[in-house]
C-alpha cells in the first residue's frame, strides 16, 4: 500500500474525465456555475465542450438531454440538492421517462452530499437525493466513498447508457484501496472488513466512520455500497448472509427511501433471518451549527453511537 492520499472525489473524477475527453470528442461537460480545481483543466483544454449554463439547474438538465438525444455523452455538474431537487421534474421527464424510449447518456454529478457543507444549513445539506433518485425508474444511482472509486466511475458511466446520478462528498478524503477492479465496480459494493456476527453497511462518507468503528472494535464487517441502484443482489445477499445482524448508516433520512430501504426491502424479499438496524438522520432538518462529527452526534450516528449499537448487537 502506498501512503494514503487525500483527494476530493470530484477532482479525481473530473481529472480522469478530462483525460478521456482528449480521445472521445462526444463528451460534453455542463456546469450550473460550479467549479473545481480539476474543472479548470477542462475549461482550458476543451472550451467548446464545457458549457456553464449559469445558475439554472432546470435548464442544465434540459440542455443536457437535448445534447444526449443528438448522440453526445453528457456530464452535468451542480450542488447536489439543486441538481436533484430544483431540477427533479426535468430529471424525471427528460432523463428517466425519455431514456426508456430513446438513448440518453447523461450523468448528473451532485457535489456536497449529506452534510458535507456542514455550516451552510438545510438548503445545502442533501439528505434526500439518494432516496428520490432511487425512486425514478431507468436511473442508476452511485454514492462513492473515496476518490479511487470516484475515478473508476468515469469509465463506468461512459460505457453504461442511460441516465445516472453520482453523489460526491464535498470533502477531501483518503482512499480505502489503491485500485478497484471492474467486477467489483459492476457489482456495486465491496466488503472492506470481514466480521463475525455484525456487519455495518454504509455508503459515501459514512463508510469512513464504519471502517473506523470496525477497526476500533474488531471482528466487525463493513460493506461499502457505492452503487445504490442497481447492485448485484445475489452477491450482496451471499455476503450479508454470513452475518446475524446488519446496521445501515447513511447521511440521509432514516426510512426515507435511501440505503436502509434498499437493504431492508432486499432482506424482506429474500425472507432473510438477518436483522436490520438503521442509522441516519432523524425526520427533521438540521439548523444546528458545528462540525460534521457534532451534527452526526445529534443524530446518533457519530463513532461512539455506532460503536454502542454494534456492541449491543454483538452481545445479543
Amino acid at each position: 500500500m502506498s501512503k494514503p492520499k487525500i483527494m476530493t472525489m470530484r477532482d479525481s473524477f473530473i481529472g480522469t474525465l478530462c483525460d478521456r475527453m482528449a480521445t472521445d470528442d462526444s463528451i460534453f461537460f455542463l456546469a450550473a456555475d460550479l467549479g473545481a480545481p480539476a474543472l479548470d483543466r477542462i475549461r482550458d483544454e476543451f472550451p467548446s465542450r464545457f458549457i456553464n449554463v449559469g445558475i439554472a439547474e432546470q435548464n442544465l438538465i434540459n440542455v443536457a438531454s437535448g445534447l444526449a438525444l443528438e448522440g453526445f455523452t453528457v456530464y452535468t455538474y451542480a450542488i447536489a440538492p439543486f441538481i436533484t431537487m430544483r431540477a427533479y421534474e426535468q430529471v424525471r421527464v427528460n432523463l428517466a421517462i425519455s431514456s426508456q424510449i430513446r438513448p440518453v447518456n447523461v450523468t448528473m454529478l451532485g457535489l456536497g452530499g449529506g452534510v458535507s457543507y456542514q455550516v451552510s444549513g438545510p438548503t445545502h445539506h442533501c439528505l434526500e437525493d439518494l432516496a428520490i433518485m432511487r425512486l425514478l425508474p431507468n436511473i442508476s444511482v452511485y454514492c462513492p466513498s473515496d476518490w479511487v472509486t470516484a475515478a473508476a466511475l468515469v469509465d463506468q458511466t461512459r460505457s453504461i447508457s442511460g441516465p445516472k446520478y453520482i453523489r460526491f462528498d464535498g470533502k477531501a478524503l483518503p482512499s480505502f484501496q489503491d485500485r478497484i477492479d471492474i467486477d467489483i465496480m459492476n457489482q456495486g459494493f465491496r466488503e472492506l472488513a470481514a466480521g463475525n456476527k455484525v456487519c455495518i453497511i454504509s455508503t459515501g462518507y459514512m463508510t469512513h466512520r464504519a471502517v473506523s468503528v470496525a477497526e476500533e472494535i474488531g471482528n466487525v464487517g463493513v460493506i461499502d455500497i457505492f452503487k445504490l441502484k442497481p447492485f448485484d443482489r445475489v452477491r450482496l445477499m451471499e455476503t450479508i448472509s454470513r452475518y446475524k445482524h446488519v446496521i445501515t448508516i447513511e447521511e440521509g433520512f432514516i426510512g426515507g427511501g435511501g440505503l436502509d430501504a434498499a437493504i431492508g426491502s432486499m432482506l424482506t424479499d429474500e425472507r432473510s433471518p438477518v436483522t436490520l438496524d438503521r442509522l441516519g438522520f432523524n425526520d427533521s432538518y438540521v439548523f444546528e451549527l458545528g462540525s460534521r462529527d457534532y451534527l452526526h452526534g445529534l443524530n446518533n450516528m457519530n463513532n461512539a453511537s455506532i460503536a454502542a449499537r454494534v456492541r449491543k448487537l454483538d452481545n445479543q
Binding site: 458549457i51 438538465i61 434540459n62 438525444l69 443528438e70
Partner: protein, 275 residues
Amino acid sequence: MRPTIDIQTLRDKAHWVRRETLLLHGRAPETRVASSLSAIELFVALHYTGIMAFDPKNPRWEGRDRLLISKGHGSICYYPILADLGYFDSAELDRVCLEGSFLGGIPDTIIPGYETINGSLGHGIGVACGMALGLKRKMASNHIFVIAGDGEFCEGSMWEGVMFAAHHKLDNLTVIIDNNKLCMLDRCENVMAVEPFDQRFAAFGWETRRVDGHDIPALLDELTSLKQRGANGRPAVLIADTVKGKGVPELEQDTLCHIRTLTPAEISRATGGDK
C-alpha cells in the same frame, strides 16, 4: 422564397385535418381538442410545403429537421397528419386512447414522429437548445422547430431556455408560439400576462416575427424566410396569433374551452353533418 405549392391545396389539407381532429376527439373524448384546433395551420405549413425535412419511413433519419412539440396536449391534430404522411397506418387513428394503442391522450416519443416527452409543459425550449447546440457542433445544417403554447411561458424554465439560446447564438432554432390567448381557466392576460412576446423576446436578443397563425400564405412566407435566415447568430420566434377552438363556434366563444369535451351533436355540426 416561398415554396411553389398551391395554397388552396394547403387550405383543403387544413380543413381535412380539422375535420379528422374533431372526429378523433369524438372517438377519444379524453383528448384536448380546443388547443389542437388552434395549431392546425402551423403543422400543415411545416409538413406539406417542403419547409421541414423529414422521412416518415425513417423517423430518426439523421438529416431530418427536428420538431419539438412543447405543448404536447394541444397537438392531437398531428395524429392525422402523421398517419397521412405515412409514419403509421391510418387505422391507428381509430384506436386513440384504447388499450394497446400508442396514440394516447397526450403524445409521447413512443409515437413515430415525436421527438420528446411532451406531457409536462415548459421543457421544449431547453431540450431544443441542447439539440441545436449538438447539431451545430456536428456541423449539421438541420433546423430545430419548437411549437410552444403561450400559456406555457408562465413556466420559468422556458425563459431559462430563451436566455441560453440567445447567449449561444442558436440561429438553427425557431420557436413557433401558438398564441391562442387562453390557458385552462381564463385568458392569459387575466391569469398571468405573457405578452408582449415581441418585446420580451427582442429584449433577450431573439429575432421576432408575428403572423396570423391561420393565414397559410403568411405562415409560409415567415417560416420559409426564418428557416433560410442563415447564420445570423440569433434564435427566432414566430408569434402565431391563433384562435383556440378554431372552426368550432362553441369552443371559440368559451374561455373554458381547454377542458371542454364536445358532444356528438357538436362534432357532427362542426364536421358538416357526417357521423
